[in-house]
Amino acid sequence: MSHMTRRRLGLLVAAVSAMLAIPSGAAASMTPSGLQCAPVVAGSGANAPTFHLVTGTGYTTTPDGNSVFMWSYSLEPSEANQPLVAGGPLPTFQTPGPNLCVKVGDSVTVTLHNRLPEPSSIIFPGQDSTITATGGNAGLLTREAPANGAAPGDVTYTFTATQPGTYIYESGSNMSKQLEMGLYGAIIVRPNAVPAGGAAGTVASQYAYNDSNTVFNPKQEYILLLAEIDPDLHHAVAIGSPYDATRLHNHYYTVNGRSFPDTIQKNGSGLLPNQPYGALIKIQPTVAGQAPALIRMLNVGTIPHPFHPHGNHTVLIAQDGRLITDPAGNIAKTEHFAETIGTGQTQDYTIRWDSADSFDPVVDPFPVLQPSYVNLTFKDSNTWYAGSPYLGYRGTLPVGTTSQNMCGEWYFPLHSHALNEFSNFDEGFGGMGTLLRVDPAGGCFGTPTATKITTGSLAPGGGTLASLTTAPTPFMGSTTLDGAVNTAAGNTIQIKVTTPVGFPNGNSFNIRIDNEVLRVIAGAGTSTWTVSRHQQGTVGGVHANGAIISQVPGRTTLSLPILSTTTTTLVVPTGTANTNGAIRFPASVPFDIRVDNERMRVIARAPTILGQTLFTVIRGTAGTTPALHGFVNVTQLPGSSRLTANVPASGAGSTTLLISGTSDAQMTFPAAPFIVRIGSELIRVNTKTTATQWAVTRGVNGTTATAHSALDIVNEVITDYYVVRSTTTGGARTAEWTATFSGVPAGSSALSLTYVGHNSIAGPTTTVTFWNWTTHAWQDLTPTPLTATGTSDSTVTRGIPVTGLGTGSNKGLVLIRIRTPGTTTTFNNFVDSLTLNYTAP
């Protein structure tokens, strides 16, 4: 029960969160999410896929801790899909049955070996070609394999796949029992040719049907197979009691054989050894020209299910393996807030997500107050609370939790709207539901969370290149511990930091070391800080020498509610060493804050009166609407504005941004140059021609210039600008420093690093390497080493092997070393940005 309560608590408060670092099961070849096709029998012809299915018994687990006796089809044992032999290994039981993927024109063979105590069979609804069945005995709907593998033995079914689409295979024997027990699975038939009008460079398997409008993103192909379970009937079968189908009363509702929240675990999760198929759907915000995701939905249960997506409508394109067309024969798509899928039906949907709210995981997360950590129960990275009910916000994390989401993505439920089915044995939420995960546009990316100079020195100011004459002031300070904190005890201690640069010069700001939040109460501006420990409900821990220290954004709570949409004065507590307040915000104005859903710009702050500070603000900046606010949180934000005119990807006008300056006083952007982000593109602002007109360089730091529209949000990107001065004595002078990326989710793939930088003199060659956590050595990036020379910026992208992603106590860490051995001349190494891109699991 406490198990249940914990999950429910998280769900009720948060709805969602990340599924982190669950070890994979046997299915090593599976991708973390998406449709998984079963292997064909070794030796199958190119156009004659063969599958050996075995019926058998096993158990499925449910999120409330129950386990239910099931029957299912499984593959013959071993990856090689070898026939069963006496005394040999038994199949790995799985439910539902394996996904059988074939293509049009294939001669498909499916053999059935029956280990159940009664005759069984397979029918193939929707396959309209002649089904040839040999072996076994004649049955009602098709030939059947006798009970317990008895003579005359196995049945072989053969048919030609003639029409692309999504289909069911299921038992044709004693159906009211065998289908309830789990004898079902999916057949995917793909086109064998690119349809007429298909885009150049596409392949047949990117189309759901023989129509170019059914193109989908092949990395986003999903299957949702819906079923129900009556545990009492299953128990009756398990113990040999009479089976009365008229007593059917479902208590569990499954997607791909799992009930929510298990549905969002990875494919092949070791937690669910007999339920290999996950149902998490991952998409990215719509990008022009990008094909949508495809959801193949099948209802193998006995009742219709009204399936409802949050966030965006689904688009129905086909039913029962047939495209739905208009009288002229053209595809007839229909959008659905919820659509009922009948029993035995299949339906194919496309889905995309359009960001109507200009969602941004960093500066425009969904505005939901975070509850106090002390009111929640956490359990390491399996927690169900993300820091924000709608995620998208990467705030301070509790001790023991390294990350609550992957990279600022957020989640929608996708579930049966018959809400009794959105439960596990009447406990909600659960059952027939999964999540739709929206990753940031362009995928996940990160910037260093800490840097450390190993050879050379920090060079504040400094450069002359690329119009950069001064390093932008960091939005938030970041440094490292210079000496370990060896005790978790104590309320007030002193720590030494590598540098105080970038942090406020005044005391009483919050910092974070590992998962502990601390408050600097003395020593600001120096390298020795007196800190008050375990703030914001966090628990003290020990911290290693070199641990990352990050500044926590200013945060406080309104002292008085805002009862007018025109009030421009906010009253907040000034704060003390031990309480939040105005002193955690920048001493100099302007800066941006968020109050509920409204953004504001603080343009003046008055001295303390009676322990309170008055902020004078511009209301409703960045396109938000002034509203009334209660005693709610006030949070600091980086610069943000909106475009006031369209900007093309290239050509005339592409290097000038016109931004809103009326209610969005652009002043909280730093002096040029600095980096902004619009959608997935990074743009360097070189010059502010006027306050609202900027001269820019497009598509920097490895991103691609794309067209943007008026009202698109322009966000300042808080990347650090690194200038490291080489050693100044001796022979060959060297600048060497390391950058740490943290919080990269376990299981992330396709890691790549984009380096943008140069040196102040022409001679030296900068080499960028990564730390191999397996060999414990610096190693070249792939496929060729990353080197850069010259006095103007080089932009280089290279891959990082998975050995570059730390595990265990180094979980989520990627270390990058930038080393420039030089000449006898002192020089500076400049890195405009280091960006890590990856695909989160």
């Binding site: 089904i131 709907l141 079914y157 159906m175 009211s176 089976y243 009742i303 219709p304 039906q345």
Partner: protein, 352 residues
Amino acid sequence: MNRLMRRRHLVMRARTNKKTAAAGFAILVALLAALLGGSASAADVNVDLCATTGNTTMPDGASVPIWGFVSANAADCTGVAAGTATIPGGPVITANEGQTVTITVSSSLPAGAAAPRLEIPGIVLTPNDPTTPTAWSFTAGAAGSYLYQSSADSGRQEAMGLYGALIVRPTVVPAGGTDADPTHYAYDNAVSQFTDQATLVLSAIDPVFNADPLNFKYTSGDYTTGFRAVYWLINGHAYTNGDPAITHTAGGRLLVRFLNAGYDNTSMSLVGIHDRVIARDAHLLGTNLFADNETIPAGGREDAIIDFSGSPGVPPNGKGYPLFNRELHVTNGAPSQVTADGGGGMMTFIAP
């Protein structure tokens, strides 16, 4: 006997048409229509029904009391002995577009039952006597498949079997049609052209309800003691054996009319061939929808065409294309049983 009965109800098999003769017939009809002033409607349709009691024997041997509409020869139950209903349901009533249809309903139901009250969802009926109607009239306006039923006793009469199919047929050959007989179209659209048709009225029975229909408590106790259907019927019959019950002209177009007179949403699975759904609730669809699993809501109707031209595949069972209730109501009685060949309930076969 049983099989014959079932065949009669399941199949309205049309004759194969010889196109030349049919074309000549069409010209004759057109000439006649012109002479008669353009009215294609022939005589009005008058149907006399008697609502009466009876018993039906289920495949598991149980005898279940039922009510049904029986054709009467007069506007009352004269000549209809009580207990003569053999299955739930009533005769298929057929009318042409434009005809005036009058249905007279008399009753020999047991004491306590209300007088049957006719309704046909989708059609406005005019009672001949608004206070105590026993006959209703309407003009068959739009072609399609309809359910007639008695709404009296809060639906309990319908649950006992007082329902039946009403077919309204076109009177002119739609544009593009290749068959000159307008009755070989379900709608005024060539897509509905057929060579054969099967009218399938779907329903379900809880024998505990049927034993005492006027006093049964639907929600008594938990789900195991409230209304719990255990027999699942097509045209009043549960599956008994595997013979193909629905036949058709070789290479022809079989029109299947699904009419759900039962209480729940019913998904019918057709294995081995797709049909084309042409209409729902007597309205043509605007899209081309090919399906093999369609849900017919309680009270809903759906018309689908199975096209046998083009050598469709043959199912591996020696009988035909299975057509069965995909909610797995393919058993008989409680505890659920199947027949010797493994079938039961709402199941039939369509010959290849």
